[in-house]
């Protein structure tokens, strides 16, 4: 029964995304931008492609995730659906879970399609090799890009959880828009900017700097990309990146945001 409820709610959210013209346009835009980054100046290697995509994705993924998520619970509240659902035998936590799952599937679908279209650039535009000279796989491999895809998906899930938190916390469309914009800005530049400020002002121990990265989901994502994609690809990363802290940080942001969203939606 619980599974049925979650799936029914998820299905409705999933459909809502694709029946909302703005979100469809945004999704097409996202795929277009990601593909554009790759195809405008085609890199012949997955490692180079990951490098090119990292910075755009740090911006585009939160924007897309918040577009997908910030109206979800807020809209339900405004339409009285949250109130109506209290007359049904559905746990509010399951409702938040269902909303999250439905939107997450849609979001991940769009992100994966974007990355797949971008990835096609490598096999399709491969520069001609000198046939007389021996070539080998180099450290570049689709493996690295697959890792990048997984990390980006994780980042998207965290961003969506944060979007749902905003959606659960606000009471009106304008507040929601303002808070969502603020949250995206914080994710993209704000938190990292503050970290940079804090670190330059106080010059903490190297270990502490690594731990501070946990405060920024974006930096955690970037850190993991450096650790699992770029470093194995032969890019030197000094001192070894703090993968455990970054992983825990992403998990923490994810769970924390969802649980808090569940608590706030009931209010």
């Amino acid at each position: 029964m619980i599974r049925e409820h979650v799936l029914a709610i998820a299905q409705r959210e999933f459909e809502t995304v694709f029946r909302t013209r703005l979100l469809v346009l945004l999704s097409v835009g996202f795929v277009g931008l990601v593909a554009g980054v790759a195809w405008l100046d085609p890199p012949p290697a997955y490692l180079a492609l990951s490098f090119d995509l990292l910075t755009p994705l740090e911006t585009l993924v939160p924007v897309l995730a918040f577009a997908f998520g910030y109206r979800s619970l807020l809209g339900d509240r405004e339409r009285g659906e949250l109130a109506r659902l209290r007359t049904y035998p559905v746990d509010y936590r399951l409702y938040v879970l269902g909303v999250y799952v439905g939107r997450a599937v849609a979001l991940l679908g769009v992100v994966l399609v974007g990355l797949a279209v971008a990835a096609l650039v490598v096999p399709l535009t491969g520069t001609e090799s000198l046939t007389a000279v021996a070539t080998f796989g180099t450290a570049d491999s689709p493996t690295l890009f697959l890792r990048f895809v997984v990390l980006t998906a994780a980042f998207a899930l965290v961003a969506l959880a944060l979007a749902l938190l905003v959606s659960a916390a606000v009471r009106s469309t304008w507040n929601g828009l303002a808070l969502a914009t603020g949250a995206v800005l914080a994710l993209v530049v704000g938190i990292d900017g503050a970290l940079v400020g804090a670190i330059t002002a106080t010059l903490p121990a190297p270990d502490l700097t690594a731990s501070l990265l946990a405060f920024s989901p974006t930096s955690a994502y970037r850190g993991l990309a450096f650790a699992f994609v770029f470093a194995p690809g032969g890019v030197t990363v000094p001192g070894g990146p703090p993968t455990v802290i970054s992983s825990l940080a992403l998990c923490g942001w994810f769970l924390g945001a969802l649980v808090l969203a569940g608590a706030l939606v009931r209010r």
Binding site: R79, G80, A83, R86, T87, Y88
Partner: protein, 265 residues
């Protein structure tokens, strides 16, 4: 949302008319909207299988009471007890129901059906409220009356023993008002307990078993329409209710109408 309220055997709690079982029992209810008290120690019961109309001037607390009965709001103190077992005990129609405009009528009802146990015939529900002809129309393209019907359809999903309908026909054109009234009458005829608030006293006259006259959060009178006319010594129900609530109105203390609105928003 998980009901946190007690559901009891109908024979258990009968306060006013022990002869009939009570579907809804409200006892010692306190509710404040912010700093403004709406109800203080309100107690009232609703007979099982009856049609009970809540009437009163704007701001009297009708919508709030209905929302409390439907568990959409939680009381500050006191209990709301709904009799009846099952997956869903109360169906609720908000004053101005809204639905996701992207979905069709059928898809919308199907969603609510999927939230209650057992299999449900979506078409039967649509048929019951007369939405079959527009089943495949998007909600965004529906008229206000049709949305109201969709709200009623949603309310009857899962066959809850108690239906709480907040102003089902207000603001509709005469034809749609008649249609909504007919639907409500049919529901009443099928034996469901109905608690309905309305300004339409013709409607009240037609199908109310019992009327609750509410004013400024207080229960001024209860009884059948005929009882009320007799009590107030008035020829019409309109006049009776005006007489019963005159004191409150002449005070000039109007509880904000926004309070009602705040329930469903």
């Amino acid at each position: 949302m998980m009901s946190e309220r007690s559901t009891t055997d109908p024979t258990d709690a009968s306060t006013e008319q022990p002869a009939r079982s009570t579907a809804v029992t409200v006892e010692g209810l306190d509710y404040a909207h912010g700093d403004v008290s709406v109800f203080a120690d309100l107690s009232v019961g609703v007979d099982a299988g009856s049609v009970t109309c809540v009437v009163g001037p704007n701001g009297s607390g009708k919508s709030t009471l209905l929302a409390l009965v439907a568990n959409v709001l939680e009381p500050d103190a006191g209990t709301v007890t709904v009799a009846g077992a099952g997956d869903r005990t109360v169906g609720y129609l908000a004053q101005r129901p809204e639905f996701r405009p992207q979905f069709t009528v059928r898809r919308t009802v199907a969603f609510y059906c999927s939230l209650v146990a057992g299999s449900h015939d979506v078409d039967a529900v649509l048929d019951r409220v007369g939405l079959t002809p527009v089943a495949d129309r998007r909600v965004g393209a529906l008229s206000g009356g049709m949305v109201r019907l969709l709200g009623i359809a949603q309310a009857v999903v899962g066959d809850p023993p108690v239906l709480v309908l907040d102003e089902p026909s207000s603001g509709l054109d005469p034809e749609m008002t008649r249609h909504v009234a007919a639907v409500v009458t049919d529901l009443a005829a099928s034996g469901q307990t109905i608690l309905v608030s309305t300004h339409d006293l013709h409607l009240v006259d037609r199908f109310a078993d019992r009327v609750l006259v509410l004013d400024r959060g207080e229960l001024r009178a209860t009884g059948s329409p005929a009882d009320l006319r007799a009590t107030a010594g008035a020829d019409t129900l309109d006049g009776a209710i005006a007489a019963l609530t005159r004191d409150g109105n002449s005070d000039g203390v109007a509880v904000s109408a926004g309070l009602d609105g705040g329930v469903s928003r």
